[in-house]
Assembly symmetry: C2
Protein backbone atom coordinates (compact mmCIF):
# COMPACT_ATOMS: atom_id res chain seq x y z
CA UNK A 1 0.00 0.00 0.00
CA UNK A 2 1.40 3.37 -0.96
CA UNK A 3 2.20 5.70 1.88
CA UNK A 4 1.03 9.27 2.35
CA UNK A 5 4.48 10.61 1.58
CA UNK A 6 3.73 9.76 -2.05
CA UNK A 7 2.28 13.25 -2.26
CA UNK A 8 5.57 14.80 -1.18
CA UNK A 9 6.25 16.25 -4.61
CA UNK A 10 2.90 17.97 -4.77
CA UNK A 11 3.20 21.65 -3.91
CA UNK A 12 -0.43 21.87 -3.01
CA UNK A 13 -2.29 22.33 0.24
CA UNK A 14 -4.84 19.72 -0.80
CA UNK A 15 -2.03 17.16 -1.03
CA UNK A 16 -0.77 18.28 2.40
CA UNK A 17 -4.25 17.81 3.88
CA UNK A 18 -4.67 14.41 2.28
CA UNK A 19 -1.36 13.26 3.73
CA UNK A 20 -3.07 13.61 7.12
CA UNK A 21 -6.66 12.82 6.20
CA UNK A 22 -6.46 10.63 3.11
CA UNK A 23 -5.79 7.27 4.69
CA UNK A 24 -8.65 4.82 4.73
CA UNK A 25 -11.09 5.29 7.65
CA UNK A 26 -9.59 8.58 8.78
CA UNK A 27 -12.43 10.83 7.60
CA UNK A 28 -14.99 8.38 8.99
CA UNK A 29 -13.27 8.55 12.40
CA UNK A 30 -13.38 12.36 12.27
CA UNK A 31 -17.06 12.18 11.31
CA UNK A 32 -17.73 9.98 14.35
CA UNK A 33 -15.80 12.37 16.61
CA UNK A 34 -17.91 15.26 15.25
CA UNK A 35 -21.01 13.22 16.04
CA UNK A 36 -19.77 13.06 19.63
CA UNK A 37 -18.04 9.68 19.74
CA UNK A 38 -15.26 9.88 22.32
CA UNK A 39 -14.17 6.39 23.40
CA UNK A 40 -12.05 3.87 21.57
CA UNK A 41 -14.92 1.42 21.94
CA UNK A 42 -17.38 3.89 20.36
CA UNK A 43 -15.29 4.03 17.20
CA UNK A 44 -14.61 0.29 17.14
CA UNK A 45 -18.30 -0.53 17.38
CA UNK A 46 -19.49 2.01 14.86
CA UNK A 47 -16.80 1.49 12.25
CA UNK A 48 -16.22 -2.24 12.70
CA UNK A 49 -12.53 -1.91 11.87
CA UNK A 50 -9.58 -3.77 13.36
CA UNK A 51 -8.44 -2.24 16.64
CA UNK A 52 -4.86 -1.91 15.37
CA UNK A 53 -5.97 0.17 12.38
CA UNK A 54 -8.12 2.38 14.59
CA UNK A 55 -5.27 2.82 17.09
CA UNK A 56 -2.94 3.83 14.25
CA UNK A 57 -5.40 6.36 12.82
CA UNK A 58 -6.21 7.86 16.22
CA UNK A 59 -2.51 8.25 16.97
CA UNK A 60 -1.97 10.17 13.72
CA UNK A 61 -4.96 12.40 14.40
CA UNK A 62 -3.76 13.19 17.92
CA UNK A 63 -0.25 13.85 16.61
CA UNK A 64 -1.68 16.36 14.13
CA UNK A 65 -3.96 18.01 16.68
CA UNK A 66 -7.20 16.97 14.98
CA UNK A 67 -8.19 15.03 18.09
CA UNK A 68 -7.00 15.57 21.65
CA UNK A 69 -6.53 12.69 24.06
CA UNK A 70 -8.11 13.63 27.37
CA UNK A 71 -8.60 11.80 30.64
CA UNK A 72 -11.80 12.88 32.35
CA UNK A 73 -11.12 12.81 36.10
CA UNK A 74 -14.32 10.92 36.86
CA UNK A 75 -13.66 8.10 34.44
CA UNK A 76 -10.97 5.50 34.29
CA UNK A 77 -9.87 5.78 30.66
CA UNK A 78 -8.83 8.17 27.96
CA UNK A 79 -11.22 9.81 25.56
CA UNK A 80 -10.70 11.50 22.23
CA UNK A 81 -12.03 15.00 21.79
CA UNK A 82 -12.35 16.75 18.47
CA UNK A 83 -10.29 19.98 18.47
CA UNK A 84 -10.87 23.32 16.76
CA UNK A 85 -8.62 22.15 13.95
CA UNK A 86 -10.78 19.05 13.60
CA UNK A 87 -14.03 21.03 13.65
CA UNK A 88 -12.80 23.04 10.66
CA UNK A 89 -13.24 19.87 8.61
CA UNK A 90 -16.99 19.68 9.16
CA UNK A 91 -17.91 21.70 6.02
CA UNK A 92 -15.83 19.36 3.84
CA UNK A 93 -17.40 16.28 5.41
CA UNK A 94 -20.87 17.80 5.07
CA UNK A 95 -20.33 18.47 1.35
CA UNK A 96 -19.09 14.91 0.76
CA UNK A 97 -22.10 13.52 2.65
CA UNK A 98 -24.54 15.65 0.64
CA UNK A 99 -22.86 14.45 -2.51
CA UNK A 100 -23.26 10.83 -1.43
CA UNK A 101 -26.88 11.52 -0.42
CA UNK A 102 -27.71 12.98 -3.82
CA UNK A 103 -26.01 10.41 -5.98
CA UNK A 104 -25.91 7.16 -4.03
CA UNK A 105 -28.95 6.81 -1.75
CA UNK A 106 -31.90 6.66 -4.16
CA UNK A 107 -33.31 9.73 -2.47
CA UNK A 108 -33.41 8.11 0.97
CA UNK A 109 -30.45 9.46 2.97
CA UNK A 110 -29.78 7.48 6.14
CA UNK A 111 -29.25 10.74 8.02
CA UNK A 112 -30.16 14.37 7.54
CA UNK A 113 -28.93 17.47 9.30
CA UNK A 114 -31.23 20.07 10.76
CA UNK A 115 -30.91 23.40 12.47
CA UNK A 116 -31.47 22.83 16.16
CA UNK A 117 -33.33 26.13 16.61
CA UNK A 118 -36.00 25.80 13.94
CA UNK A 119 -35.77 22.22 12.65
CA UNK A 120 -34.89 23.47 9.15
CA UNK A 121 -32.99 21.14 6.86
CA UNK A 122 -29.35 22.15 6.32
CA UNK A 123 -28.32 22.14 2.67
CA UNK A 124 -24.97 21.24 1.10
CA UNK A 125 -23.75 24.81 1.63
CA UNK A 126 -24.49 24.61 5.34
CA UNK A 127 -27.47 26.98 5.12
CA UNK A 128 -30.71 26.36 7.03
CA UNK A 129 -33.60 26.17 4.55
CA UNK A 130 -35.97 27.72 7.10
CA UNK A 131 -34.05 30.76 8.42
CA UNK A 132 -31.55 30.99 5.52
CA UNK A 133 -28.66 31.40 7.94
CA UNK A 134 -25.41 29.41 8.03
CA UNK A 135 -25.69 26.83 10.79
CA UNK A 136 -22.87 26.35 13.29
CA UNK A 137 -21.64 22.82 13.85
CA UNK A 138 -22.83 22.88 17.46
CA UNK A 139 -26.33 23.91 16.33
CA UNK A 140 -26.62 20.94 14.01
CA UNK A 141 -28.97 18.08 14.77
CA UNK A 142 -28.43 14.72 13.08
CA UNK A 143 -31.82 13.13 12.45
CA UNK A 144 -32.23 9.54 11.28
CA UNK A 145 -33.86 8.61 7.99
CA UNK A 146 -35.86 5.43 7.39
CA UNK A 147 -32.80 3.74 5.91
CA UNK A 148 -30.67 4.15 9.03
CA UNK A 149 -30.66 0.75 10.67
CA UNK A 150 -28.45 -0.75 13.37
CA UNK A 151 -26.14 -3.55 12.29
CA UNK A 152 -27.07 -5.61 15.31
CA UNK A 153 -29.75 -5.88 17.98
CA UNK A 154 -27.46 -4.13 20.40
CA UNK A 155 -26.32 -0.94 18.66
CA UNK A 156 -23.27 0.87 20.02
CA UNK A 157 -23.33 4.34 21.53
CA UNK A 158 -22.92 6.24 18.25
CA UNK A 159 -25.56 4.28 16.35
CA UNK A 160 -27.87 4.53 19.35
CA UNK A 161 -27.52 8.29 19.53
CA UNK A 162 -28.05 8.74 15.78
CA UNK A 163 -31.12 6.50 15.80
CA UNK A 164 -32.86 8.75 18.27
CA UNK A 165 -31.54 12.02 16.82
CA UNK A 166 -28.45 13.68 18.22
CA UNK A 167 -26.94 17.13 18.49
CA UNK A 168 -23.45 17.13 16.99
CA UNK A 169 -20.44 17.37 19.33
CA UNK A 170 -22.48 16.25 22.35
CA UNK A 171 -21.12 13.10 23.96
CA UNK A 172 -23.08 10.23 22.39
CA UNK A 173 -23.33 8.59 25.80
CA UNK A 174 -24.79 11.56 27.63
CA UNK A 175 -27.57 12.30 25.18
CA UNK A 176 -30.82 10.67 26.23
CA UNK A 177 -32.96 12.59 23.79
CA UNK A 178 -32.32 14.99 20.91
CA UNK A 179 -32.07 18.66 21.74
CA UNK A 180 -35.14 19.29 19.63
CA UNK A 181 -37.19 16.25 18.79
CA UNK A 182 -39.97 18.17 17.05
CA UNK A 183 -37.76 18.91 14.05
CA UNK A 184 -39.59 18.59 10.77
CA UNK A 185 -38.98 19.69 7.23
CA UNK B 1 -4.31 -2.74 -0.22
CA UNK B 2 -7.86 -2.70 1.04
CA UNK B 3 -10.53 -2.07 -1.53
CA UNK B 4 -13.24 0.57 -1.45
CA UNK B 5 -15.88 -2.04 -0.74
CA UNK B 6 -14.48 -2.19 2.79
CA UNK B 7 -16.93 0.57 3.58
CA UNK B 8 -19.86 -1.60 2.45
CA UNK B 9 -21.17 -2.04 5.99
CA UNK B 10 -21.23 1.68 6.61
CA UNK B 11 -24.72 3.07 6.18
CA UNK B 12 -23.44 6.54 5.62
CA UNK B 13 -23.31 8.79 2.61
CA UNK B 14 -19.79 9.87 3.51
CA UNK B 15 -18.67 6.25 3.18
CA UNK B 16 -20.50 6.00 -0.15
CA UNK B 17 -18.70 9.11 -1.40
CA UNK B 18 -15.34 7.87 -0.20
CA UNK B 19 -15.83 4.58 -2.05
CA UNK B 20 -15.69 6.68 -5.21
CA UNK B 21 -13.35 9.46 -4.12
CA UNK B 22 -11.25 7.98 -1.35
CA UNK B 23 -8.62 6.19 -3.39
CA UNK B 24 -5.19 7.72 -3.51
CA UNK B 25 -4.79 10.48 -6.13
CA UNK B 26 -8.48 10.66 -6.97
CA UNK B 27 -9.19 14.01 -5.29
CA UNK B 28 -5.99 15.45 -6.79
CA UNK B 29 -7.15 14.40 -10.25
CA UNK B 30 -10.53 16.07 -9.64
CA UNK B 31 -8.69 19.18 -8.43
CA UNK B 32 -6.68 19.25 -11.67
CA UNK B 33 -9.84 18.80 -13.75
CA UNK B 34 -11.41 21.74 -11.88
CA UNK B 35 -8.30 23.77 -12.67
CA UNK B 36 -8.97 23.05 -16.36
CA UNK B 37 -6.70 20.08 -16.99
CA UNK B 38 -8.26 17.98 -19.76
CA UNK B 39 -5.68 15.69 -21.32
CA UNK B 40 -4.19 12.49 -20.01
CA UNK B 41 -0.76 14.08 -20.47
CA UNK B 42 -1.80 17.14 -18.40
CA UNK B 43 -2.58 14.93 -15.42
CA UNK B 44 0.50 12.74 -15.88
CA UNK B 45 2.79 15.75 -15.93
CA UNK B 46 1.21 17.57 -13.02
CA UNK B 47 0.74 14.59 -10.72
CA UNK B 48 3.81 12.57 -11.66
CA UNK B 49 1.99 9.28 -11.10
CA UNK B 50 2.27 6.04 -13.03
CA UNK B 51 0.14 6.04 -16.18
CA UNK B 52 -1.58 2.82 -15.15
CA UNK B 53 -2.75 4.31 -11.85
CA UNK B 54 -3.98 7.45 -13.60
CA UNK B 55 -5.81 5.38 -16.24
CA UNK B 56 -7.50 3.36 -13.52
CA UNK B 57 -8.60 6.45 -11.56
CA UNK B 58 -9.87 8.23 -14.68
CA UNK B 59 -11.87 5.16 -15.67
CA UNK B 60 -13.57 5.08 -12.26
CA UNK B 61 -14.34 8.79 -12.42
CA UNK B 62 -15.85 8.48 -15.91
CA UNK B 63 -17.84 5.44 -14.80
CA UNK B 64 -19.29 7.47 -11.92
CA UNK B 65 -20.00 10.51 -14.05
CA UNK B 66 -17.54 12.79 -12.26
CA UNK B 67 -15.61 13.25 -15.49
CA UNK B 68 -16.88 12.85 -19.06
CA UNK B 69 -14.67 11.51 -21.82
CA UNK B 70 -15.09 13.75 -24.85
CA UNK B 71 -13.50 13.84 -28.28
CA UNK B 72 -13.22 17.39 -29.57
CA UNK B 73 -13.75 17.21 -33.34
CA UNK B 74 -10.74 19.39 -34.09
CA UNK B 75 -8.28 17.30 -32.09
CA UNK B 76 -7.11 13.77 -32.49
CA UNK B 77 -7.53 12.47 -28.95
CA UNK B 78 -9.92 12.18 -26.05
CA UNK B 79 -10.19 14.71 -23.31
CA UNK B 80 -11.68 14.55 -19.82
CA UNK B 81 -14.20 17.16 -18.86
CA UNK B 82 -15.40 17.77 -15.33
CA UNK B 83 -19.19 17.26 -15.09
CA UNK B 84 -21.82 18.98 -12.96
CA UNK B 85 -21.51 16.11 -10.50
CA UNK B 86 -17.77 16.72 -10.37
CA UNK B 87 -18.14 20.46 -9.90
CA UNK B 88 -20.26 19.84 -6.79
CA UNK B 89 -17.06 18.64 -5.12
CA UNK B 90 -15.31 22.01 -5.38
CA UNK B 91 -16.47 23.29 -1.97
CA UNK B 92 -15.11 20.18 -0.25
CA UNK B 93 -11.79 20.50 -2.07
CA UNK B 94 -11.63 24.22 -1.28
CA UNK B 95 -12.18 23.53 2.44
CA UNK B 96 -9.46 20.87 2.49
CA UNK B 97 -7.07 23.24 0.69
CA UNK B 98 -7.77 26.07 3.11
CA UNK B 99 -7.17 23.67 5.96
CA UNK B 100 -3.83 22.65 4.47
CA UNK B 101 -2.98 26.32 3.86
CA UNK B 102 -3.68 27.23 7.45
CA UNK B 103 -1.91 24.36 9.13
CA UNK B 104 0.82 23.16 6.80
CA UNK B 105 2.25 26.02 4.74
CA UNK B 106 3.85 28.32 7.35
CA UNK B 107 1.56 31.09 6.16
CA UNK B 108 2.78 30.91 2.57
CA UNK B 109 0.14 29.07 0.54
CA UNK B 110 1.37 28.03 -2.90
CA UNK B 111 -1.91 29.17 -4.40
CA UNK B 112 -4.75 31.44 -3.41
CA UNK B 113 -8.21 31.85 -4.87
CA UNK B 114 -9.65 35.20 -5.80
CA UNK B 115 -12.92 36.54 -7.10
CA UNK B 116 -12.46 37.23 -10.79
CA UNK B 117 -14.68 40.35 -10.69
CA UNK B 118 -13.01 42.29 -7.88
CA UNK B 119 -9.80 40.40 -7.05
CA UNK B 120 -11.02 39.70 -3.52
CA UNK B 121 -9.57 36.75 -1.68
CA UNK B 122 -11.99 33.82 -1.31
CA UNK B 123 -12.16 32.44 2.22
CA UNK B 124 -12.66 28.84 3.39
CA UNK B 125 -16.43 29.30 3.21
CA UNK B 126 -16.22 30.35 -0.43
CA UNK B 127 -17.06 33.98 0.32
CA UNK B 128 -15.26 36.89 -1.37
CA UNK B 129 -13.65 39.09 1.27
CA UNK B 130 -14.24 42.20 -0.87
CA UNK B 131 -17.89 41.91 -1.96
CA UNK B 132 -18.94 39.41 0.73
CA UNK B 133 -20.75 37.28 -1.83
CA UNK B 134 -20.35 33.54 -2.41
CA UNK B 135 -18.13 33.05 -5.45
CA UNK B 136 -19.11 30.63 -8.20
CA UNK B 137 -16.50 28.09 -9.29
CA UNK B 138 -16.32 29.65 -12.75
CA UNK B 139 -15.65 33.09 -11.24
CA UNK B 140 -12.68 31.81 -9.28
CA UNK B 141 -9.15 32.82 -10.19
CA UNK B 142 -6.24 30.71 -8.98
CA UNK B 143 -3.29 33.02 -8.28
CA UNK B 144 0.20 31.76 -7.54
CA UNK B 145 2.00 32.42 -4.28
CA UNK B 146 5.75 32.81 -3.89
CA UNK B 147 6.10 29.16 -2.88
CA UNK B 148 4.55 27.81 -6.10
CA UNK B 149 7.47 26.57 -8.13
CA UNK B 150 7.66 24.31 -11.17
CA UNK B 151 9.26 20.91 -10.61
CA UNK B 152 11.30 21.27 -13.79
CA UNK B 153 12.49 23.88 -16.27
CA UNK B 154 9.73 22.87 -18.62
CA UNK B 155 6.51 22.96 -16.61
CA UNK B 156 3.47 21.12 -17.97
CA UNK B 157 0.25 22.82 -19.02
CA UNK B 158 -1.37 22.83 -15.58
CA UNK B 159 1.67 24.16 -13.73
CA UNK B 160 2.20 26.71 -16.50
CA UNK B 161 -1.36 28.00 -16.22
CA UNK B 162 -1.23 28.20 -12.42
CA UNK B 163 2.11 30.03 -12.47
CA UNK B 164 0.63 32.86 -14.50
CA UNK B 165 -2.77 32.84 -12.77
CA UNK B 166 -5.69 30.92 -14.18
CA UNK B 167 -9.45 31.05 -14.14
CA UNK B 168 -10.85 27.74 -12.94
CA UNK B 169 -12.54 25.42 -15.45
CA UNK B 170 -10.90 27.13 -18.42
CA UNK B 171 -8.76 24.80 -20.51
CA UNK B 172 -5.22 25.16 -19.15
CA UNK B 173 -3.91 25.12 -22.72
CA UNK B 174 -6.08 27.94 -24.03
CA UNK B 175 -5.35 30.42 -21.27
CA UNK B 176 -2.60 32.84 -22.28
CA UNK B 177 -3.20 35.26 -19.44
CA UNK B 178 -5.40 35.33 -16.37
CA UNK B 179 -8.88 36.75 -16.75
CA UNK B 180 -7.94 39.50 -14.31
CA UNK B 181 -4.26 39.97 -13.68
CA UNK B 182 -4.64 43.05 -11.51
CA UNK B 183 -5.98 40.98 -8.63
CA UNK B 184 -4.59 42.07 -5.29
CA UNK B 185 -5.45 41.47 -1.68
Amino acid sequence: MSLPKDYRDQRCSLARSLEVLGERWTLLIIRDALYGGRRFSDFVEHLAIPRSVLANRLETLVEHGVLAKVSPSDRGYSEYEITGKGKQLWPAIRVLMSWGDEHYTDGEPPLSFRHVHDGGQINADGICTVCNEPVALADTLATPGATLKPRSDKPGAITGALLQGHRLLEDVRSSAAPAQSSAKS
